[in-house]
């Protein structure tokens, strides 16, 4: 199988879906002429024309609202938010409106829209090019939230998201774009939304993660394996709806749970996973549910030591695994 990067997988997923279905189109800042600031839509203007590789004015509320209106007419827009940090002007349309459309029309209307959002830090992006925004969307009924870690998952999930009739927030970790490469089959495939993936099987500790952090968890699992700690790594892949079954099954087997994410600790996805396991696997637990997350500061700062201090990494994950395994 050919090796591809995450950004190549993302681009291919859209390309295939746009070739398959004329109603699918991309829109956003710089998605046309430039092919996207991360080149996710490179060549789309040439192949699909201006209407389906639509360079919009620099105005996120209208990018989202216009996508929504086009979806009402039966199109399947893929609005791109240039960086997650710039999603805030559009949240009225996304959280306020899009998420409520199906419910608020008694099912008469739905919103087949995928909002692509490059997110995340560890790239010296400072406060306004590093943000993790997932928790806000995960809190919102009516939205689905996907955060893949690998090229294979990114492609299969993005294709499914484009075919889904609900508004999907599709989070692509910027640091994984070119750093993470993996096998992607030539033939067409789809991956189910709402299904986690056990990326490494193990018996002693479960670690639940997603996005860039998933890779640190896998590395840390190898580090502690040499010390005799057998770690199971669960990649959530979809943050909403959560795959409760896979998480709970894993914890029932290992009796120990570590949750790792880059997003802030308080009210993050980890809090939800912790509550889930406390509810459904309490009697199986043999150690405290532990979270290793971004600290509660607004975003990872710019200066290298400050950014490093914020980011969870392989060493920090390994340390947390050792502590938990010792129970």
């Amino acid at each position: 199988m050919p090796l591809k990067s995450v950004i190549e997988a993302v681009r291919e997923a859209m390309l295939e879906e746009m070739r398959r279905d004329e109603k699918v189109f991309v829109m956003g800042e710089d998605v046309g002429l430039r092919g996207g600031v991360f080149l996710a839509t490179q060549g789309f203007l040439e192949e699909f024309g201006q209407a389906r590789a639509l360079d919009t004015p620099l105005a996120e509320a209208s990018i989202m609202g216009i996508a929504l209106g086009a979806a009402f007419r039966g199109l399947r827009p893929i609005p791109e938010v240039e960086f997650a940090d710039f999603v805030w002007p559009s949240v009225n349309q996304l959280i306020g409106e899009a998420a409520r459309v199906c419910y608020g029309t008694n099912g008469a209307l739905s919103v087949p829209m995928v909002v692509r959002i490059p997110y995340g830090g560890g790239i010296r992006g400072g406060l306004f090019h590093s943000q993790n925004v997932e928790a806000y969307f995960c809190h919102t009924p009516g939205l689905k939230v996907i955060a893949p870690a690998t090229p294979y998952d990114a492609k299969g999930l993005l294709k499914s998201a484009i075919r889904d009739d609900n508004p999907v927030v599709f989070l692509e970790h910027k640091k994984t774009y070119r750093l993470v490469r993996g096998e992607v089959p030539e033939e067409e495939y789809l991956l189910p939304i709402g299904k986690a993936d056990v990326k490494r099987a193990g018996d002693n500790v479960t670690v639940v993660s997603y996005g860039l952090m998933l890779h640190y968890c896998l590395e840390a699992a190898e580090v502690v394996a040499a010390e005799g700690i057998d770690v199971e790594v669960v990649d959530l892949r979809t943050l909403k709806p959560l795959d409760k079954e896979t998480v709970v099954e894993s914890v029932k087997k290992t009796a120990k749970l570590l949750i790792v994410h880059e997003d802030n600790l308080t009210g993050g996805v980890g809090a939800e996973v912790a509550a889930l396991v406390a509810d459904e696997a309490f009697e199986y637990l043999d150690g405290p549910i532990t979270r290793l997350c971004g600290p509660d500061v607004p975003t990872m700062p710019f200066a290298q030591p400050l950014e490093d201090a914020y980011m969870p990494n392989t060493e920090k994950v390994a340390e947390a695994l050792r502590k938990l395994a010792a129970y």
């Binding site: 009402f72 007419r73 409520r100 608020g104 029309t105 008694n106 099912g107 008469a108 009516g142």
Partner: protein, 353 residues
């Protein structure tokens, strides 16, 4: 009934705001495109809407309708624009919460409207999940998702974009209040519509109030239509208390939108009631102001005009009123007897299947 006499057109303020007109010559004579039957029908609609509006207000006081936003004073603007849209035959509407006349007269029965206000089974827009007549009535090509002032405008523009992408000839009518013109999203919607010359008619029902905040604290200009020029399309000031003028402006607006791109119509209207059933407007405006406004009530001026034109007799007017009252009474009875939704409905339709 005698043939309608030529109507001397009132001094039109069309085009004043931008110095442009939407480009149609306005012949002196019976209003172009209108028949006596149209006008009579609009009067029937106006009466039925007013009786409905008064009834739901009363039922609010009886504790039977949780909330209502009255369209009293806006009927001429709403029904005039709706008539133009219906004649055109290929318009899609994004009204706002004050557009009772539009939402009702696209084709809902008085009973459906009363079911909606009371939140009963059969509510046509949202299954009674939302405020009355809010959600979508796709059968009649109407969408209003939200209560968030200004939020529907980018959606309306997106709908028009979608229509263009699919090769439709549809024109979108997007309604908003004067307060809504201050929202950033309104700017974004108009800007995008202008850039892509999308077939959108923005219809601003300017009643000079956003709840209590007067126009002078909302904007530094007299005619918000003048903003349209900054988006590269015409803005037109219309006497929204006059159904014929509202009709004509919308009719021309629709033609312009389809052939050349967006238009902004500023319909100057009066809000004859408090903002909603929850508001007490004596806190911020004098009785005399409302009394003055009532002299221009379309329910007074429109039938007077029709009588003057020989289109309507006193007796016909009485019959029309009695008939509307009967319809509203019947609808009220049916809605009062109807069942509320089952509590289990609460969990459905969070996601599309």
């Amino acid at each position: 009934m005698t043939q309608a006499k030529p109507r001397s057109p009132k001094t039109s303020r069309k085009g004043k705001a931008t110095g442009k007109s939407t480009g149609e010559n306005r012949a002196v004579g019976f209003p172009e495109g209108l028949t006596e039957q149209d006008l009579l029908n609009s009067y029937r609609q106006m009466v039925l809407v007013r009786k409905t509006d008064e009834r739901v207000w009363m039922m609010n006081r009886q504790g039977k309708v949780p909330i209502a936003a009255s369209c009293q004073g806006h009927e001429a603007a709403q029904l005039g624009s709706l008539l133009a849209a219906q004649q055109d035959g290929d318009c899609f509407l994004f009204p706002y919460y004050r557009d009772l006349a539009i939402k009702m007269m696209v084709g809902l029965s008085p009973t459906q409207v009363m079911l909606s206000f009371m939140g009963k089974v059969g509510e046509p827009y949202s299954g009674a999940r939302q405020f009355p007549l809010q959600g979508a009535d796709l059968e009649h090509r109407v969408i209003q998702i939200s209560n968030v002032v200004g939020a529907g405008l980018t959606q309306a523009v997106g709908y028009a974009l979608g229509c263009r992408m699919l090769g439709d000839d549809t024109v979108v009518l997007a309604y908003l209040g004067d307060g809504a013109t201050s929202q950033g999203e309104t700017h974004e919607a108009m800007n995008f519509a202008g850039v892509h010359r999308l077939p959108v008619v923005f219809v601003c029902e300017n009643n000079r109030y956003a709840i209590s905040v007067p126009q002078s604290l909302q904007m530094a200009i007299t005619d918000v239509a003048s903003r349209a020029e900054g988006y590269g399309f015409p803005g037109v000031v219309v006497d929204g208390m006059d159904l014929v003028q509202s009709y004509q402006a919308t009719r021309e607006g629709i033609k312009h939108a389809r052939s050349q791109g967006p238009v902004f119509l500023e319909m100057k209207v009066e809000r004859l009631m408090p903002h909603t059933t929850d508001d007490d407007d004596r806190r911020y405006r004098g009785d005399d102001e409302v009394e003055q406004a009532r002299l221009r009530d379309p329910l007074v001026t429109f039938p007077a005009y029709l009588k003057e034109q020989g289109i309507l007799t006193d007796q016909e007017a009485e019959e029309i009123n009695a008939e509307a009252q009967r319809a509203v009474n019947e609808a009220t009875d049916v809605a009062e007897a109807a069942s509320p939704p089952d509590a289990s409905d609460m969990l459905s339709h969070v996601y599309a299947p």
